[in-house]
């Protein structure tokens, strides 16, 4: 009786394993004419990239773009641990360079830039009007290990504000977690990307930073070494760099690809 139960559980597990396994790899030989293109992208791209994917799937019938949106650092760690991705788009040059040094990522192109804003809930409970009002506010920021947190430290440093003098109540792993806590009104203010503030619309109030304090995030994109869909991945990158792709990104609050 007991062994039959075990067997049943085991069969279910194996079945579940097979089910999820067969879907992800596109199979086929050298250049498949269709399949799933797996794009690992920084969570700040969560709105812009699916819009570009719609265009991509129209231009390349048979292909479906699958996204994983997480902190760039976590995506890089997943690629290091052998997760199969075709494209990596990060919110900082640090992690792509880290992967390149291990031969895990090909040449990258910078496809967008982003800046930071100070955001508050729509009703601005702490009455913040400038970045110098944040002294007593409950602040939610990015963890220093993720790009948004590192950029926030740069901005604070540029402003001559010591993080230890602030009331930081949480250091989040993803930009979207900062946005959520602001939208729910649990925190008074937080530093997020201009693109996130644009996406949030009137759910958040954004306060511009002085230009001299601004930190500019550069977004590189590249093909993951060993991708079986290298051609489709290059087509995705080309589309992101095209006027059409750039228009979507700028419309979502990103700066255009830096000319370098």
């Amino acid at each position: 009786m007991r062994s039959r139960l075990l067997l049943l559980v085991l069969t279910l597990l194996v079945a579940a394993g097979c089910g999820s396994g067969s879907g992800s790899s596109s199979g086929g030989s050298s250049a498949p004419s269709g399949g799933n293109l797996v794009v690992f992208a920084a969570s700040s791209l969560i709105n812009a990239f699916p819009k570009i994917a719609t265009t991509y799937q129209q231009q390349h019938p048979g292909w479906k773009v699958e996204f994983e949106f997480l902190g760039s650092d976590q995506l890089a760690a997943q690629i290091e641990q052998g997760d199969s991705a075709d494209v990596f788009a990060a919110a900082s040059t640090k992690y792509p360079e880290q992967l390149q040094s291990q031969n895990l990522l090909g040449k990258t192109t910078n496809f967008a830039t982003n800046t930071l804003v100070l955001a508050t809930p729509a009703d601005n409970p702490a009455g913040i009007t400038s970045v110098h009002d944040i002294g007593n506010a409950k602040l939610v920021v990015g963890d220093p290990s993720v790009p948004i947190g590192a950029y926030t430290l740069t901005v604070l440093d540029n402003l001559g504000i010591k993080p230890s003098s602030l009331n930081i109540v949480s250091q989040e792993a993803k930009v979207t977690d900062i946005v959520t806590k602001l939208e729910l009104g649990e925190a008074d203010a937080g530093f997020i990307y201009t693109s996130d503030a644009k996406t949030a619309g009137d759910k958040l109030k954004s306060i511009q930073l002085p230009a001299s304090a601004q930190a500019t995030a550069t977004y590189p994109i590249g093909i993951v070494t060993g991708s079986k869909n290298a051609k489709a991945a290059q087509q995705w990158i080309d589309l992101v760099m095209s006027p059409q792709g750039q228009q979507v990104l700028v419309g979502d609050g990103f700066g255009p690809a830096p000319s370098s």
Partner: protein, 256 residues
């Protein structure tokens, strides 16, 4: 034969990921990291506070549920068990909607000068919410297994219901309650989803071991792995100890 094969496969499937954690990376370096230590220490403190609350409040409730039959008993049992089957994210959002600044009680709490999110209290509440059902269910089973005639004998011999509970029911249900405490504690230590939503993540305040493991993926994999290894050893140790102490009644209930 099939049974042995199934057992072998199941065991390797369940244990391989846990063993892999011990084989990967530099655990000694990881455990020396300040983040890992801060997170483990915080988890230990807050999980013990949670356990204390669960036991103090949950034990009388479990005794009531085990010894009395009343019309809404199924309803109460369902309410107690519901957090077991809900995703922790639901717990996190629910706690925010109830106790957050804009939650149901947010206004009253603010008037009283209390702000719960982003505090240690928020972590404890998240832990209790997800872990107390395990303790209460186990405690109900333990009390139900106590021979009714012994309780009745105690009452006929003149002991009040309080004294009967303390002197007869508690000692007889003791091993079952111990198993429940082990399960509840282990679940509280493992709490992640509700905590990250309701309490946030700040080193030394709300960044518990599971959150440190999650963040370790990016920043310091060794620290994350070392934290994970300690959790596996501690939880495994507690569960095994309870079994070795001969908690026969624990078999009445297998956690999800």
């Amino acid at each position: 034969m099939i049974g042995a094969l199934a057992a072998g496969l199941t065991l390797s499937f369940l244990l391989l990921p846990l063993i892999a954690i011990f084989l990967h990376g530099d655990l000694a370096a990881g455990i020396r990291s300040e983040e890992a230590r801060a997170a483990l220490w915080l988890s230990l403190q807050l999980s013990l506070v949670s356990l204390a609350v669960m036991v103090v409040v949950g034990t009388p409730l479990a005794y009531l549920l085990a010894t009395r039959s009343f019309p809404s008993r199924s309803l109460v049992m369902t309410a107690v068990e519901l957090p077991l089957v809900l995703p922790p994210a639901v717990a996190g959002i629910g706690l925010l909607m109830a106790f957050g600044r804009r939650g149901l009680l947010g206004h009253q709490l603010a008037l009283a000068g209390i702000s719960i999110p982003f505090t240690r209290l928020a972590v404890v509440m998240a832990m209790i919410f997800v872990a107390s059902p395990l303790y209460i269910r186990q405690a109900v089973s333990a009390f139900e297994a106590v021979d009714r005639t012994l309780l009745e004998a105690s009452r006929t011999l003149g002991a009040g219901s309080g004294r009967t509970f303390r002197r007869v029911a508690l000692p007889l249900a003791g091993s079952g309650l111990g198993a429940g405490m082990a399960l509840g504690w282990a679940r509280a230590v493992g709490e992640f989803g509700a905590t990250i939503i309701f309490a946030g993540s700040l080193t030394g305040v709300t960044r518990t071991a599971p959150i440190e493991i999650y963040l370790g993926l990016s920043d310091n994999l060794d620290a994350g792995l070392a934290t994970a290894a300690v959790l596996i050893a501690a939880s495994g140790g507690v569960l095994l100890t309870v079994k070795l102490l001969g908690v026969g009644r624990a078999r009445r209930f297998t956690p999800l």
